[in-house]
Amino acid sequence: MYISLNILKDFVKIPKNVDYKEIANNLTQHTVEVEGFFAEGEKFKNVVVGKVLSVEKHPNADKLNVAEVDVKKEKLQIVCGASNLEKGQLVPVSLVGAILPGDFEIKEAEIRGVKSFGMICAEDELGLGEGHEGIMVLDSKAKIGNNFADYLGLDDIVFEIDNKSLSNRPDLLNHFGIARELSAIFNWELKEIDEFIVDTESNDSLNSLNIKNNTKENCLRYNAIKIDNISVGESPQWLKNRLLALYQKPVNNIVDLTNYIMFEIGQPLHAFDGDIVDKIVVRQAKENEKIKTLDEKERILDENDIVITNSETPLAVAGIMGGVDSGVNSKTKSIILESANFKDYVVRKTSQKLNLRTEASLRYEKSLDPELTMTALKRFVFLIKKINEEAEISSSITDLYSNKFEESEINLNYKWLNDKIGQEIDKKDILNYLEKLGFKIKKQNEESFVVVVPSWRANKDIKIKEDVLEEILRLYGYDNVNSKLPYEELVLPKINNEKKIERNIKNILSLKHSLFEVYNYSFVGEDQLKKMNVDYLNHLKLANPLSGVQSILRQSLVPNLIVNIKNNQAKENNFGFFEIGNVFYQNPGNIEQGGDEKENLPFQESKVAFSLTGESEEKLFSEIKGMVNSLIKNISNKNIDASFYPLEEEMGWKGSMAVSVFVKGVRIGFISNLKEEVVNNFNLKKKSLFTELNFNTLFSISEKYKHKYFVEPSKFPSVERDLAFVINKDLLYNDISNEILNFSELITKVKLFDVYQGDKLNEDEKSLAFHISFSSKEKTLLASEVDSLLKELTEKLKENFNAKLRDF
C-alpha cells in the first residue's frame, strides 16, 4: 500500500522540517512495517520536457517519423510513431536510462536503420492514464529541459507499506488511519474528520431511493444517495496528482473521486449510473447467475456470493467490482452512490473463487468499520461539489443499518498492565496513548480505568485487555522496555531422553560411521513406489499436492534414500546416507486430534534409516550389519548385540539379502539389498544396502540396557581354542553360535573368524570357524578339562546340527 505525505498532511499536523526517514522508522517500530519511501518525482527520473525542432519521414518506414528534439543540454534524434507529432510541440521525453512503468528501460536503439536516443511518450507509457492516441503535448508553461515531474507538480513523498503486516489492521488501509497512528506516535495533532465532510444530515423532504437489503447478515449496512447534474470528465489536476502518487491511473472524475476517498479514509464506494439504475436490491446471488464486470469479463456466481441487483439483473458483485452495464460512463448525468459494509469472509471467499482481487475486496475481506459508510458518503458529497459545481443532491440518504454497532468497554488495571510489561509506565502516558488512538477513557481512578473501544478497532482487533496492553506497549516502544530474566523457583528440568538418544544416534552414524545426514521430503510419488513394487494404495495421500511426484506420505525412508543414491552415484564411489524422520500410516495411532474430532491422528512414527553404496553387495552387507551392531552397542551397553534372521518372505523391493534385525529377541527393523528389477527401474549403477530401524524400539532398548556395570575379569588365565564345524549351508550362524555359547558357563566368548564354502567341502556344506574362550572364576582350567568339554560340545553339535569337526 502506498501512503502519500501530501494526503497525510490533510489529516495530521506534520512539522515542516520533519525527516521522512523518522516517519518511516517510527511507523515500523510502533505500527506497521514501512518497506521504503521515495520522492514521487523519482518516478520520472530521466524524463524531461523537450521541444520538437523538426519532423521528417523515416526513410525506411512509412508510419515512423524521425524527430530532432531539444532537451536543452543537447539535441536528440528520436524515432517516433505517433501521428500527432508536429514541429514546435513541447513533449515529455524519456532519455536513455529512464525506467518507465512496467520496468521498461529506455535504451539507445536503432529502428530500421535509424538511430534513436530516447522516446517521446504517450500518456499510458508514463502511467498517467489510458491515452495512447498520440504523444502527450504539454502546454506552454512547460520549460525545455526541466524535469517532467516538476511540470506535473509532483512534489509528494510516498511511503510503501507491507500489506501483509496490515492483515489484522483494516483501519490502517487508508491515509486517515495512518495519520491517526502518527498523531499517537509523535504526539501530533489529528484533525477532526468533520472538517472534511458535509455537515448536513439527510434531507428527508427529497425523494427516498427504492433500496432493499435482503441479506442482512451479509450486508451489514447500506448507504446510498442520488446526485444529479453530474458531468463526467477528466479530474482536476490536484486529484489526478494525488492518485498518481499512489500509482493509480486516473479514469474520470467520478470514478477517481470514489477511489480517492477509499484511499483517504478506507471506505470503498461505488457509483451506479442513476439513469440506468432506478431500484436496488441487495441479495444472495442465484446459482449460475451471470454478470459482466467492469473488466469486461463474465462472472458466474452462486448462492454464496452477495450481489447488488435491480431485483432482477445483477448490477455489481458486492464489495468486489461493479458491472459494466450499470457503471458510470462519459454520458452519465446522474449517479447513485453506494457506501456499504459487507461481511468480511463472504467477500473473501467470492474474491478467491472469482480470482478477482480489487482494492475494495482487499479492504472488505479484512472487516471494515460499519460506522464509516456514512462518513465516506458525506465526504463524497463534500468533494463532488468542488469538482462538479452544479451537482445536485436529489434524494434523501438511504441508511439500511439493522445491526447497529454497539460500543464495547474494557476494564484495565494499572498494576496488571505494569506486571505484564515488567516495568512501570507513567499513568498519564498510558491514557494519552489510548486517547490519541481514539479510545475514550471512562470511570477513571488511581488503580484502574475503563476504555471504550473505537468503532474502527472494535470489529476483530480489540476485544480483551491484552489487546489494549499491546496498544500501550507498542506506543511506549518495545525497545524502551527493560529486559530482565524471569525470577522463578529452581526446579530440576525434565529431560527428554528420546531427543538425547536421537542426537546420540545422529552423532554415531555421522561421526563414527562417516555417513551423510540427509533430510528428505516426507512425500513420495506413485511412480516411485510402483518402481519398488510397493502398494501405494494403502498410503495416506495429500488432498492438495504440489505435484504428482510428491503426493503420497511416506511409509518408509528408503524410497527417498534411493533417489539420493541415484542423484549422487555419478559423483562418488563409496558413500552412505542416513536419515531420522517420520513415516505415516492410514490407521489411527495413539495421539488425539483434539477439538470435536473423536478419531485419533493417523499413526506416525520415527524411523532411523541408512544406506551404503559401493561395488560389492556382500561387502556392503557385512558392513551394514556391523554398523547396526555398533550402533546398538553404542546406545545401550557394550554387551548387547544385534542378530540377523532371513526375512520370512521377500516382498516388494527387498532382494536376496533381506534380514530382520533382532536385539534381545525384539525385532528392531530390517536390512536388505534391492531386487535386480528395482535396481534397473531406478537405473542404479552401483550396489546398495539399506537398513531401516524403528526409533521407538531403539529407544526402549537403549533405556532398558543403558546401565553399564563392571564384571571383574577372572584372576585365572583363559584357554583359547579354535574349532571349525562343517554344517549344512542352510543352517544359520545364529543357531550354532548360540548353542556353543550356551553349552557351558565356562565358555565366556565365542567369536566367528572364518566362513568357508568351496572345493574342499561338499556342495551343500559350509564351514564356520570359531575362536572359543574358556575361563573359570575359581581356578585355572586344565587342558584336559577343556578338551573333554570340547568333545562333548562336538557331540552335541553333531547331534543337533549334524555338524562335523573340520580337519585341515
Binding site: 496492553l469 531427543k499 510428491q550 559423483k571 517420520n582 477439538g595
Partner: protein, 342 residues
Amino acid sequence: MKNKLNKIKEEFYQVIEKARSEKELQDIELKFLSRKGLLSETLKGLKDLGQESKKEIGMLANSIKKELIGKFDNVKKVVKEKETEKLVGDLSLPGKEFPQGHLNPITLIQNELEDIFTSLGFMVEDGPELESDYYNFTSLNVPPLHPARDMQDTFYIDKKNDKGENKLLLRTQTSSVQVRALLKHGAPLKVVAPGRVFRNEATDARHEHTFYQFEGMMVGENINFSNLKKLLEIVGKKLFGENTKLRMRPKFYPFVEPGNNGEYTCFLCKGEGCKVCKGSGWLEIVGAGLVHPDVLRAGGIDPEKYSGLAFGFGLTRLAMLKYNINDVRLFNNGDIRFLEQF
C-alpha cells in the same frame, strides 16, 4: 625329497636376507611360496611316496612351510617399515586420511539452540507432523474463516471426517506443539519444540514447502514482556556474539498478544549494513509475544493466574544466514557436495 625340501629352505634364506624392496619380496613370494611356487611343486611328489614316509615328509614339509612364511612375513614387515622411514624424511607429509561424517546443517543449528535452552532449564518437546486442524489452528486462536488461515497455505490430507471435512493437515508451524505441551505438562512450563513444518507453496531458491522451525514457550505466574526480551537477547548473544543487539517491533500472530518480531544486528557487518542484511544492519529471525489467554485456556491453564511468553525461530533461515547458504532447496536434496561441507 627331504633333501629337496632342505635345499629349497637354504635357497630361500639366501635370497630373503638380501631382500630390500617390496618388489624383491614379491618375486620371492612368487618363486617359493605361491601356489605354483617351489614348495607346492615339490609337495606334489608326496602322493607317489609310501604311507610311512608320506606322513614323515608331510610333517616336515608343513613345518618348513610354516617357518618360511613366518620368516617372510617378518622380513616384509621390516622392509616396509624401512621404506616408510625413507619417506618420513619429509615431515610435512599429510597423515592418514580418515573418512568424515556429516550432520545436516539444520541439525547443527538445532543442536545449538537446544543446548542454549536446555542450559536455561527448558525441556525439549516433540509434536506430530501430521497434525489436526484443532492444534494447528483452532486452539491457537485461529478459528475457521479467520483471515490468518489465508496467510498460510496448508497441505491437507486426503481423508475426511464423518462430517465430510478435511481436518487433517501437515502442520504449518511448530506452534502446534504449544497447546499439546500445556495439556501434557501443565504450568509452570518451560519448553522448546524444534521440527519440520510444511507450507503448500512452489519451491524455488527462496521458497520451500518443507522447512524447519524452533518453537519456545515459558508459562509461569509472573512471566512478562521484559522476560521475553531478555531471553531473546541471550539467544542472540549466544548465537551471534556478545555485541549482538535485539530490536523488536509489532507483528501480528493470532496466538500471542502483544505480538512482535525480533531482529538481531547482522552478525556479518555488525549492523553496518551489508549484502546479508540487505543494507539494513538487522536480520529478522524470530517471531514472539506473550501467549494469548485463549491459547492458555485451550491448554487448561487459567490466564488470570498464569501468563506466558512464546517465540519461534526459523531454523532454515538461521542456517542459511549463518552458513551463507543461498538456496533453500539444498537442505532437502541430499547433494553430497553440499552435505560434505558440514
